[in-house]
Symmetry: C2
Subunit: 692 residues, 2 copies
């Protein structure tokens, strides 16, 4: 037994520590330090949510010798709980266990496992919990004629006395249910308290209840993903995705805005489409675990600015042209009933802030998740879609921009392009001597020169080239000398290889010969050059603003980023030079950011503060963008060196090939690119690109 008057207690993983008088309940110590430990019953030993364990041993660094004996023995309350609901030998109820000596306490943190589904090499990351919505069991005084306070008012008073919520109010629509719930629960109820600004009771159940869910939703223009989290553990218990049904109004963002310009009354239909899809996902995820929709009490949403507006029922047409004015950029918190969302009507919706007219709440979520603002290293975070969203910086300064890459990286605008699906070529290697390719297609776990490929190929087929396939094909064509650093397919090589074929006045490379041919044409190369030049120019602009020549780390977010090989992306000059080991795919980082905000309100404050201090760069307004764009048309770049890449890959020496032909075609293609913002900015870039 420790005879000191107080003890040193360290909580992990937060690392918060403090001295507490002997006899202090562990739960109280955690609260005093601001360490979040769940409790629904408020220390009555009913809910068992406040479990912790003792890390035993000598922690020299912290000067703590921690032992399970430095807690009082299991109390009657704990024994009763263990008997009724089970309690692992090393677990204690922190409301019942009193501190008797120095301790290192482990607060269980559920690993955030979902990312592993998207990309296995990304590590599961623990997120500490501190939810905005709290489930609180309360025992309310019975009515007293001498103190004729209303039932709801007595509930508020009990909440203050038993949970410390001062000045709480009750959501108006709930008032009509309070009296009945109190009586059915024998003056014991469980309430959900939303702690944003003023504490507000938003839901009520008779008696004790310890079930609460939340959803995190990433609304993409193509797909919508929904995760269901158990709010009392932080664990993601179900996930589901669906195609965004707005696609019938327009394949990409700008075509949906165009639809609205032509159909000004079409907003409700677009809003209903996305909300309907989300309702379907809520059905799916709650159904998967048998959860009641009324137990879903929080919903967090991310999406690009246009999806964000359409989901909220806000006309996004202003985002279709300069100055790309967002109707609202800040984070929003409002009752689910305001948008008829099919969760508990008192549940609360939180939407992350948008960064700028083309850098949305999804980019804000990804930035929060990947945390460039938390470290010393200069981190580049890129999410490639029709617009590439680019964030660059470190804890001192952080910048963001978007660049209109167009859909080439998604396989559109490519002659044999297709979405990533079985039969699509996803990997390419070209022998620099023979110029013969090896390929892999989605659905076959072998290269085309392996036996298994031949066995399976008739079944799967080779149907086209997906985004990562075209990146690798063009990069390998460059590395093997088939195309020059200016991006011209060298027709002279037709003499060396029958893979090089003339197509009109330019040449193409035949990647696959089967029932039909799959070729990479000069046009395909140009489309990828335009897209990658736009992306790189945006990145370069931010590097200029930040005054740096190189980045320390690159994170590729989104589906595209998950499947491309960083080496080939760098060979093509999509991204700047960097140690290849420090270029990683981070999967659906936007969705991760949404989940973080769902289970810890501290991340809401963090992302709001972060977005406010991000410097927004509008690429269209920057004179140097055009220069960077022109330089970035070359492979990997006309002026920028790639020393770190060169250590890993042998890059060909620059070599000139006449390109009059191809330049003519380039001008032509750019005039064809249309739609909203793309066309305006495309126009500017055409001029300078052709003046090249």
């Amino acid at each position: 037994m420790d005879t000191k008057a107080d003890a040193l207690v360290l909580f992990m993983p937060s690392g918060r520590r403090g001295r507490f008088p002997i006899g202090t309940p562990v739960l109280d110590a955690a609260r005093q330090l601001g360490v979040y430990v769940e409790s629904v019953c408020g220390g009555r030993g009913i809910c068992g949510r406040c479990q912790v364990s003792v890390a035993e041993g000598v922690f020299a660094k912290h000067q703590i010798t921690s032992s399970a004996d430095h807690l009082t023995a299991r109390s009657q309350t704990e024994e009763r709980y263990a008997r009724l609901r089970g309690l692992a030998a090393d677990r204690r109820l922190s409301c019942s266990a009193l501190i008797t000596g120095d301790l290192v306490i482990d607060v269980p943190v559920e690993a955030q496992t979902n990312r592993a589904l998207v990309r296995k090499r990304a590590e599961a990351r623990p997120i500490e919990r501190d939810p905005a919505m709290r489930l609180c069991y309360v025992e309310v005084d019975e009515p007293d004629m001498e103190q004729p306070l209303g039932d709801a008012d007595r509930l508020v008073r009990a909440l203050e006395a038993q949970w410390g919520f001062a000045g709480a109010s009750i959501d108006f629509p709930l008032l009509a249910r309070v009296q009945d719930c109190l009586r059915r629960g024998g003056w014991k109820v469980t309430v959900a308290v939303h702690t944003h600004t003023r504490p507000t009771v938003v839901a009520i159940w008779p008696g004790f209840r310890d079930t609460m869910y939340g959803i995190a939703v990433d609304i993409g223009s193509t797909t919508i993903a929904c995760h269901l989290c158990d709010m009392l553990t932080g664990r993601t218990v179900a996930s589901a995705g669906t195609a965004n049904p707005q696609i019938r109004f327009g394949e990409d963002l700008m075509s949906r805005v165009s639809y609205l310009m032509m159909n000004p009354d079409g907003l409700p239909a677009l809003t209903a489409a996305v909300r309907g899809a989300i309702e379907g996902l809520i059905d799916k995820v709650t159904g998967d675990v048998g959860a009641d929709r009324a137990d879903v009490l929080e919903a967090v949403f991310v999406g690009n600015p246009i999806m964000h507006h359409l989901f909220l029922g806000i006309d996004p047409r202003e985002l279709g042209g300069a100055p790309f004015a967002l109707a609202v950029s800040g984070a929003l918190t409002f009752p689910a009933r305001d948008i008829g969302l099919g969760i508990n009507p008192g549940g609360r919706v939180y939407t992350l802030p948008c960064i700028a007219g083309h850098v949305g709440a999804d980019a804000a979520g990804a930035t929060l998740a990947e945390g460039p603002h938390r470290g010393e290293e200069i981190t580049l975070l890129v999410d490639v879609g029709t617009n590439a969203e680019i964030v660059l910086g470190n804890r001192d300064r952080i910048l963001a921009a978007s660049s209109p890459t167009g859909p080439a990286f998604e396989g559109a605008e490519i002659s044999c392009g297709q979405r990533a699906a079985p039969g699509a070529i996803e990997r390419v290697r070209i022998d620099p001597q023979t110029l013969e390719p090896r390929i892999r297609v989605i659905g076959i776990d072998a290269w085309s020169d392996e036996a298994e490929f031949a066995e399976r190929i008739d079944q799967v087929g080779v149907t086209g080239i997906c985004g990562s396939g075209i990146i690798e094909a063009i990069a390998e064509m460059y590395l093997s000398g088939i195309i020059t650093s200016e991006g011209v397919i060298d027709g002279a090589l037709a003499a060396r290889s029958e893979r090089i074929v003339a197509t009109g006045r330019t040449f193409a490379y035949v990647l696959w010969r089967g029932t039909h041919e799959l070729k990479v044409t000069q046009n395909d190369v140009r489309a990828i050059q335009l897209a990658k030049a736009a992306l790189y120019a945006g990145v370069k602009l931010l590097m200029d603003k930040l005054g740096i020549a190189a980045v320390d780390r690159i994170k590729l977010a989104g589906a595209f980023g998950s499947f491309i090989d960083p080496k080939y992306a760098m060979v093509l000059g999509l991204i700047p030079d960097c140690d290849l080991a420090r270029v990683v795919a981070v999967g659906n980082a936007a969705g991760t950011g949404a989940r973080m905000c769902l289970i810890n309100k501290g991340y809401r404050a963090e992302v709001e503060k972060l977005v406010a201090r991000i410097e927004k760069i509008e690429t269209a307004l920057e004179p140097r963008f055009q220069e960077h764009f022109v330089n970035a048309m070359a492979l990997p770049n006309k002026v920028d060196a790639f020393p770190r890449l060169s250590e890993a890959v042998s890059l060909p020496a620059p070599r000139l090939v006449t390109d009059g032909e191809a330049a003519g075609r380039r001008r032509e293609r750019r005039r064809e690119r249309g739609g909203g913002r793309g066309s305006e900015q495309g126009g500017e870039r055409n001029d300078s690109a052709s003046a090249d």
Copy 2:
């Protein structure tokens, strides 16, 4: 020209004063002192709402010599305003007029005139304005690609910069309209900002707009009254009343609760009935002045607890029996859309707090209006209905209770009783020598012994006795010796006057002989005795609690209080002894309290604080109530003296008459009285009353 560096400025009627540097705008000086001066345009000289005038002269008490010259001459802004919209010679725009010397500034306060409609001798009272809802003209920056803040976010920023509202939010359903309004208004908009807890933008209009209304509604069980206030002046511009259509579910409160007990699904119908009636009243008052419902931005409601609950859609059945638990007692603030109220959907509803299960928000409003808590004098405030609500106290201590008087005072339970309407006897005088009566009836402006009465009587008729008539009849019968202090009609007098007639085993007094006879029977006397004893016992109980033997002032609220003669009320012992000059009717004080809360949010804080500190006395729980009740059955009272009344009126000496007969009938009648609380408490009182 004053050469001092600063000047002394006194604002009236608030009496706030301070020194300000020469050159300070009057509006700024007012704001620094917390004196509310309206301004919609925020000091741009557009709205003209900030007009003040200078009180000229030497104010010795304040050591101020005030002159209109102590303001700068009319500015160009003022001249332009005067030209466009007119400005009285003595008026200045306080945003443009700068202080150059000592001043007494009059801030125009619209007299609150409505009370005068109810009772002429009550004086119109000025109420200073400080509304919870503010109309603010804002000029918003245009979108900037380099600072891509959303339109709504820039509006919030402008509101902070131009109006000082920090941390404002925008009501979620309004967000979809912000962008369009800003563009239609050329980046100039007028917004309504609700300043309860966190400032919230709840409505928006393009450009400049200075129209805002509010409604104050008193929901009575019999009638509903609605007042429309111009929120920019505080003036009541229209009033309307209607019968409460819930009457079809039950004549009085308890019968409506009984209806719900028998029809548990009937709540929506009762709620819809009262809300529908209110919608009709809103139609009427807005129609009267040509106002747009969307310009009504605040609504304040008072009502007794059952009306309060039914209006809010809350089941009031718990109020039908002990412990009379209110579902909610505190003041509520919520969006009008939450109850589908047909004002601006972003408008806000405020309901005053209820004091106890039978002392409602109406009593809270009346207390606020009559202010017993503001003075030194012990004030008794009584609102007589089916339940009498009683408030007693002064600034140090204040108590409240309700007493179940039953409907006798309203003419029900009286053999010839009727509601106050043409033909009803409202005034009675009896000659103590001849025992002959003189009467006045509603609709004839003369006594029955005057010529005009005879001329008009055939036309109007004499149809019954209203509440004030029965009070005077019984009081005069007592003063003239027809009934004893125990309330027995003295049959021996039949020998002296043919007005005294036998009816079975008791006697009656014939008040009117025309086409038919109108009699005051022994039962009528007993009904009034029971009602007044209940009222007086409640008052006495509060006097006991407060430890006082007499009150300084009596205020009679409500319609009944407006029409009874305080002298006769005191002769009957309805109310305790008091200087008759200090007994006044205060009309619809509950409605006045609602209007006060509508136009000045300070009164909301006041009434909430007040209700929290009112000591609630439940008469049913007090052992002395029965004793007081028994004593109060006598006229005026068995034990309490009425020395001040005796100075004005010659009270008969106590005299005994055998009353065995009447006591038997009394027991019988009390058993017949039914319904909820009345029956329970009635039961207790029967026993003691018959033991009398």
